[in-house]
């Protein structure tokens, strides 16, 4: 069943008075329970696309349908895990996780129950009363995931959430995220510039091309889980995506040097 549909999304940016095309007609179908990874070079508009899905930015034309209904504003049905720094330092870990529930007017007892179950899931119970500055970068991203899941969203949006992590922490979270996905059966859109991340996580990988930004190719990865970073069998997908992106990077370098 189609969960989310992007129909011909176009977005321009104003750059020094010139209009630059950020997204040139993105069409995407995300099915219920999909783990979609969007991979592409930096500046290809993949984060802009995610922001449009989240309702944080508006497209110039085109529309996003969630369960068949057009959406244009942010909503807790599409919670986002940001790259970094989006946890609130003035709140304890548990209050961060409960923030959206509080905004929705859910009573305190119920909030506590929900937040504790997600803190458990992310192995954060011990840190419920900590403040954000007391956590490592990896812990922060676990809290961010718990906070996004606590809203029980229709779709979980992730914008390069592991980009700032050291590789051991990242490998660990890559496995954990797969387990969470299997357990919660959430639909996930995950944006990254890291090809291995997209291969490990995605059952669909959308390769974005640059200038004009479009989806160049969709690669389906049907492979057992949890997938590990060192799995040799994932290499062929990795190289397939790399080949698609290589021509992009070369084309861009040429363009820039002209």
């Amino acid at each position: 069943m189609t969960k989310l549909q992007a129909k011909n999304i176009v977005k321009h940016f104003d750059h020094n008075g010139n209009s630059v095309v950020a997204l040139d007609g993105i069409n995407l179908n995300v099915d219920e329970g999909d783990f979609v990874c969007i991979v592409g070079p930096s500046g290809c508009g993949k984060s802009t696309f995610l922001n449009i899905v989240a309702g944080l930015e508006k497209p110039d034309s085109g529309e996003i349908l969630l369960n068949g209904n057009p959406i244009s504003t942010p909503g807790p049905d599409r919670t986002m895990v940001f790259q970094e720094g989006a946890l609130f330092p003035w709140l304890k870990v548990i209050d961060n996780v409960e923030f959206g529930l509080k905004m929705a007017g859910i009573p305190k007892d119920e909030r506590r129950q929900i937040s504790h179950s997600y803190l458990d899931m992310m192995q954060l119970t011990k840190f419920a009363d900590s403040y954000i500055y007391q956590l490592s970068t990896g812990m922060k991203q676990r809290v961010a995931i718990a906070r996004a899941l606590a809203m029980d969203p229709e779709i979980l949006l992730m914008d390069e959430p592991f980009a700032a992590l050291d590789s051991q922490t990242r490998d660990l979270l890559l496995v954990e995220l797969q387990l969470i996905w299997e357990r919660t059966k959430k639909t996930i859109i995950f944006v990254t510039h890291n090809i291995s991340e997209s291969v490990i996580l995605g059952n669909k990988v959308e390769v974005f091309k640059n200038r004009p930004s479009k989806i160049k190719k969709e690669i389906l990865i049907d492979y057992r889980r949890p997938r590990l970073a060192e799995d040799e069998n994932l290499q062929k997908y990795y190289h397939q995506i790399l080949d698609e992106l290589k021509s992009e990077v070369i084309a861009r370098t040429k363009e820039d040097s002209q």
Partner: protein
């Protein structure tokens, strides 16, 4: 570390009193111009025991607190509107920059004409002194909120007033506290200045009384009290809050 710096301070102030006493004993300065530490101490003890000092402190403090609360609430509202509505920033914002350059004491004549020598007059001076600094700091605080905080707040369903109270104000707190500190300093100057000129009960009144009686011990003693209150409020109220905010925001040095 902390204890050590406390010792240093005690030693420093004891040194000042000692130098003061020595200068007094040399009679280089006439006694009408420089009282001895003992004379000042006696005046303060006398005014403490007859309750007049506490009464004056209480009067000055309640005016300060009322004025500061009004200035904080009003200043934050103005500052948020300046940050959110560009037209407000361009119009009211420029006016506030101008008004902020007026020293607190310069509002006293206007306060007298509008309110007479009353509590309301003193509070007006206090508010006028603090309001604009708080507005300006609130404005820059809101402007400097990392955009991801706002995006995260909206993403989790906060909007309108909810977003203001649950994300914007707490996110801007490190700036807001700077504004409150400035505001308090201006407000305190304003209270004392207004009390001197209005001559109504308060520390400023006791200063004025000392001048009237040519009682240099009284004037010096009250000045010291005004300074001590300043140190206490700054060091024990604002510094503590500021340190807590900065450490929690991961900004502490």
């Amino acid at each position: 570390m902390k204890i050590k710096s406390l010792y240093k301070q005690i030693l420093f102030y004891a040194g000042i009193v000692a130098v003061w006493q020595i200068i007094f004993l040399t009679h280089l300065v006439p006694e009408q111009a420089l009282p001895s530490p003992m004379q000042v101490g006696q005046v303060l003890v006398k005014e403490t025991s007859d309750g007049s000092l506490l009464y004056a402190i209480a009067n000055s403090m309640w005016r300060l607190v009322v004025g500061l609360v009004i200035a904080i609430v009003g200043g934050m509202i103005i500052g948020i509107f300046m940050a959110k509505v560009e037209a407000v920033n361009q119009t009211i914002g420029s006016l506030i920059l101008g008004l902020q350059s007026i020293p607190s004491v310069a509002w006293v004549p206007l306060a007298l004409l509008w309110f007479g020598p009353t509590d309301a007059g003193v509070i007006f001076v206090t508010v006028a002194g603090a309001l604009f600094a708080i507005s300006i700091n609130t404005h820059s605080g809101i402007k400097n909120i990392p955009p991801t905080y706002l995006a995260a707040g909206r993403n989790m369903g906060a909007s309108g007033l909810q977003l203001v109270t649950n994300v914007m104000i707490p996110a801007a707190l490190p700036y807001l506290i700077t504004g409150f500190k400035q505001g308090w300093a201006y407000a305190w100057r304003g209270v004392i200045a207004a009390e001197i000129i209005f001559s109504i009960a308060g520390l400023g009144f006791l200063l004025n009384l000392g001048k009237h009686d040519k009682d240099i011990s009284q004037v010096s003693g009250i000045l010291i009290i005004v300074m001590i209150i300043g140190i206490l409020v700054d060091g024990f109220v604002f510094k503590k809050i500021e340190a807590k905010i900065l450490s929690r925001w991961g900004l502490s040095k």
